[in-house]
Amino acid sequence: MTHESNKRWTIKPSSTLLDLKISETIEYRDLLWLLVRRDFVSFYKQTILGPVWFFIQPIFTILIYTLIFGSVAGISTDGMPKPLFYLAGVVTWNYFSDCLIKTSTVFRDNATIFGKVYFPRLIMPLSIIFSNMVRFGVQMILFFLLMAFYFLKGDHFHITSYVLLFPFLVILMALLGLGLGMIVSALTTKYRDLAFLITFGVPLLMYTTTVVYPLSAAPGKFKWLIELNPLTAIIEYFRYGFLGNGTVSWLSLAYSFMVTVVVLLFGVIIFNKVEKNFVDTV
């Protein structure tokens, strides 16, 4: 339970809402890394291509997007090479949506472990965030390869100083996915209705942000709706940083940041509340 002997502990019916048990979570950091490792290793066990499979999904996605949205529908990519434009959106969106979808079932997926052993429950959603970050990192390599390819081909795009915001953007996406996922997972332990919403809702949500079109091409009537999605600013900043193309304003990033903070706070509170007794109802 704790790593010090002779430490006093108390088991009570309820605890304070914001008690994150940070120190306890830090003590279990080894478990966090082992879980991340487990997810990564078990993903490609008994496959021939191994981690290459991390590439396959985004490659096929951008192929389809280039064909459907780029050629058939003829949606603008602001003069960017189409595959590169889509990949920037797909990689970032995938990270966010993977974090959200996986976290949203964390209680149900781990009910057997949670029902038998105690460890700070926050470890599980955190391990999901980091596992997906590994996958995200691998997909970023693909993105860099594609960038190099188009650079050598002579397409004109340029890296701007906004690229320094990249780590911040990743953390924002991770925390937003984590916060939303925790809210959904906590709400679905007793009543599972919301879980259905996630399975079809999240893929649809992609169209409300700038994955397959640039913000500049959004029709004026719906622009505010698209800007309402906190992911929009993140993706736009990402494109602006790496490709020098996108509609960015500090206000929109500040908005995304505020939404993330609120969602995360709410997620932590509700997760903490549910965590203690969910074993009885899941």
């Binding site: 339970m1 704790t2 790593h3 010090e4 002997s5 002779n6 430490k7 006093r8 502990w9 108390t10 088991i11 009570k12 019916p13 309820s14 279990y28 080894d30 478990l31 082992l34 879980l35 490792r37 487990r38 290793v41 078990s42 066990k45 008994q46 057997t112 472990i113 949670f114 029902g115 038998k116 052993v117 105690y118 460890f119 007793k190 009543y191 203690k276 007794n277 074993v279 009885d280 109802t281």
Partner: protein, 432 residues
């Protein structure tokens, strides 16, 4: 609380029965509303003690109710009780898997709890990887596991397979590896839930040995839940007896086991069957009464038999018309329903068959108890006409009686509880 390791005060736990669906939502809202106004939960007040055999108005059930106890450092405590008495709930609360509805537990020292072995084992990962993962889930640091790695592998005895995915393990190997990790946890308090029920006999012995080493040698506080009274009496010094969610008794382990046996089998132990409804009529043998007695034909009632005794099964029946096809006998089953043997009056040489007289007859069959391991047993009566008809079917347990056996054979200092359905002691000679 200088010498107290765990102190529980007024621990209660309520569960909601039935399914959760739209119907339960309105009740949830009602409860939340009551809590918001600072009132007591309206559905928790109707609670009653947990007797699963009785139907109840409320769908809230108290799995534990007002449990108070103190456990001193270095104590080994057995928690016993029937199924559904709240043992597992108590362990879950102590392990922090779920929280109590009311009450508080305080304690000192690191807790290692084994409600299950192999929690979090991933089938695709190798034994080595799973040792690290499982150890970390149980609360060990990586460095700690590394330090003990060789001992863990050694204890599990699966060294050859350590780099093979555990999905290729036999179930026995899987459990060995899992227990080995758990056994090397460094903690002050160890909570164990019947993990001994797994693995083969040799491994069970190893586990029991490891546990008594932990409790006696290292002075750890151990809480142990088991249905195996022998294991409890060997391992534990103190006992807690739970009955329908209420702490019925807490004290020395021998007293506790006695009380448990009285409570637990008072309503199931049946050593006498009387044919009050005039069932199973046949003119060749109309069975009237079956009784279990000791060698002096005194009823055993609710007494537990020990190994130096003889059990007599007495059949009383009325013969109207003698029929040479008549067979009387029984099946003996252990508490898990395994058939130990079946026996018939016609098993022996035909010359030695019993000849029944017209009128009332008493037939006796004797079983030496030293053949039987500790536990409870069922006697199911058989009466039939050979190749013609069942009068009383043993397979369907038309008439069943039961009895208890404890500490069967302790004559040898090397005696161990072995696997196998019965215990046979055969002679050994030196011939050259």
């Amino acid at each position: 609380m200088s010498n107290i390791a765990i102190k529980a005060e007024n621990i209660s736990k309520a569960y909601q029965l039935g399914e959760f669906s739209t119907g339960t939502l309105s009740r949830d809202i009602e409860r939340a509303w009551a809590r918001l106004r600072g009132k007591e939960d309206p559905f928790l007040m109707i609670g009653e003690t947990n007797d699963r055999t009785k139907k109840s108005e409320s769908n809230i059930v108290w799995s534990l109710k007002d449990i108070n106890f103190e456990i001193e450092k270095g104590d080994t405590v057995g928690i016993i009780g029937r199924n559904g008495a709240g043992k597992s709930t108590l362990l879950k609360i102590l392990s922090r898997v779920t929280s109590p509805t009311t009450g508080e537990i305080t304690g000192i020292g690191r807790i290692a709890s084994l409600l299950e072995v192999g929690t979090g084992f991933h089938p695709e990962l190798t034994g080595r990887e799973n040792i690290y993962l499982n150890g970390a889930i149980l609360g060990m640091r990586k460095a700690e596991i590394k330090r003990q790695f060789d001992q863990i592998v050694d204890f599990s005895g699966v060294e050859r397979y350590i780099d093979t995915p555990v999905k290729r393990y036999s179930s026995g190997m899987y459990v060995r590896l899992a227990f080995a990790v758990a056994a090397h946890l460094e903690s002050e308090i160890l909570i164990v839930d019947e993990v001994l029920a797994v693995g083969d006999a040799e491994f069970q012995k190893k586990c029991l040995g490891k546990m008594s080493e932990v409790s006696k040698g290292q002075g750890k506080t151990v809480l142990f839940v088991s249905h195996n009274m022998n294991a409890v009496s060997i391992l534990c010094k103190k006992g807690i007896f739970l009955k329908n969610g209420i702490l019925d008794f807490s004290g020395s382990v021998s007293e506790c086991i006695n009380i448990y046996n009285k409570h637990d089998f008072a309503n199931v132990l049946k050593s006498l069957w009387v044919n009050t409804n005039n069932q199973f009529y046949d003119e060749s043998f109309f069975i009237k009464k079956v009784a279990l007695t000791d060698e002096n034909f005194n009823p055993i009632a609710e007494r537990t038999l020990s190994s130096d005794e003889i059990l007599n099964i007495i059949f009383e029946g009325e013969v109207v018309e003698f029929n040479s096809a008549l067979k009387i006998g029984y099946e003996l089953l252990d508490g898990d329903g395994n058939l130990i043997f079946s026996s018939l009056s016609t098993d022996q040489n035909q010359a030695n068959w019993i000849g029944l007289n017209k009128g009332l007859n008493k037939v006796v069959s004797s079983i030496p108890i030293k053949l039987l391991k500790p536990g409870n047993y069922v006697v199911s009566i058989h009466v039939s006409l050979h190749h013609q008809k069942w009068i009383c079917n043993a397979r369907q347990q038309d008439i069943r009686l039961n009895f208890n056996v404890i500490n069967s054979y302790y004559e040898s200092p090397y005696w161990m509880q072995d696997s196998g359905l019965i215990k046979v002691i055969v002679p050994y000679y030196l011939i050259s």
